[in-house]
Amino acid sequence: MCPQTVRNEAPSDDKRWKIINATMRRNGDDSHALIETLHSVQETFGYLDDVALSYVAKSLRTPLSRVYGVATFYHFFTLKPQGEHSCVVCTGTACHIKGAQALLSAIKGSFGVAPGETTADNKLSVISARCIGSCGLAPAVVIDGNVMGNLSPQTLVARVEREIG
């Protein structure tokens, strides 16, 4: 393992690549920094695209196949752009009993998106989570990072409509 002296050229002039480069440098520019680097890309750009994945693979001298394998393995990473707002519906045991499926079908009915999908206008992404640890609030939903509990399909749809304007 020899330290890399010449850094690969970033794919564009975008200043955000500097954040990615810093993450890689901090972790020794080596293949073991892969997950950390992908986290950085995900947080900075919001998703992982082909260009970013190739750049990471090249910079960390890791096969692109490995990068794709890791990126598709973890639910945290998304390969497509996410909407402006996120709505995480908990489908854990408690929320399931309290009607999480009704919430999901209400969202599907009102906005036409199923878990893992984003609306065509890029306003809303719906994600289903296995348990968000707020079982006392079942059925619970996280809208843009704020946990909301004891929801009925109507209140959820009204709340989401208010959020996305």
Binding site: L64, S65, R66, Y68, G69, T72, F73, L79, K80
Partner: protein, 187 residues
């Protein structure tokens, strides 16, 4: 290299340290079925068909022989009622792939919902691509029930000039799909 003495199906055999149980047992004449094993590759341990019974002290365990290095004084049984039952169940779950094994175990239908017939995720192509061909075109995408073999976008045409894994693939997945799958099509 240290020689190790162990017992396989009642016969005492000797083997070099570091060799796998599967290799030693096959050399000793045992007929152990495998799916994901290939001598050129590192043990993958995915198919579990090479499962054997290992007696160590008072404990008896079922282990995947391809990934189990020989140990001094080990007592190994390669075919018992329990092992055959285990293998038969695995082959049934693999159905409708691995038909040569299905024939051997007399399986003509499966109690489990049939998945795709051209790939059973044995990993031979992925591992061969990485370890022997050094091309890194193939990878496992996703996980759990969503796991599948995929091609790195833009690299799949390399398969036309290599194709070394084509004959390893029993279901024909790589042969029929190389060059047809891209990331943009998937999402």
């Amino acid at each position: 290299m240290t020689r190790i003495t162990l017992t396989i199906d009642g016969e005492t055999v000797q083997a070099d340290e570091g060799t796998s149980l599967l290799e030693v047992a096959r050399k000793a004449g045992a007929d152990i079925p495998t799916l994901c094993h290939n001598e050129q590759l590192k043990p993958h341990g995915a198919c579990r068909l090479c499962t054997v019974e290992v007696v160590k002290g008072k404990r008896t365990r079922l282990v995947a022989s391809c990934a189990y290095p020989v140990e001094e004084g080990l007592v190994v049984r390669t075919s018992t009622v329990e092992i055959e039952k285990h293998r038969k169940l695995l082959v049934e779950m693999l159905y409708p792939t691995a038909l040569h094994l299905a024939k051997r175990y007399g399986i003509t239908k499966s109690r489990f919902e049939a998945e795709r017939g051209d790939c059973n995720l044995c990993g031979l192509c992925v591992n061969y691509c990485r370890e022997v061909a050094h091309r890194n075109v193939l990878y496992f995408e996703g996980r759990g029930i969503d796991r599948k073999v995929a091609f790195v976008p833009g690299k799949a045409q390399e398969c036309s000039s290599c194709g070394a894994c084509f004959e390893l693939c029993s279901g024909g997945f790589v042969v029929t799909n190389h060059g047809t799958v891209s990331l943009n099509e998937r999402i």
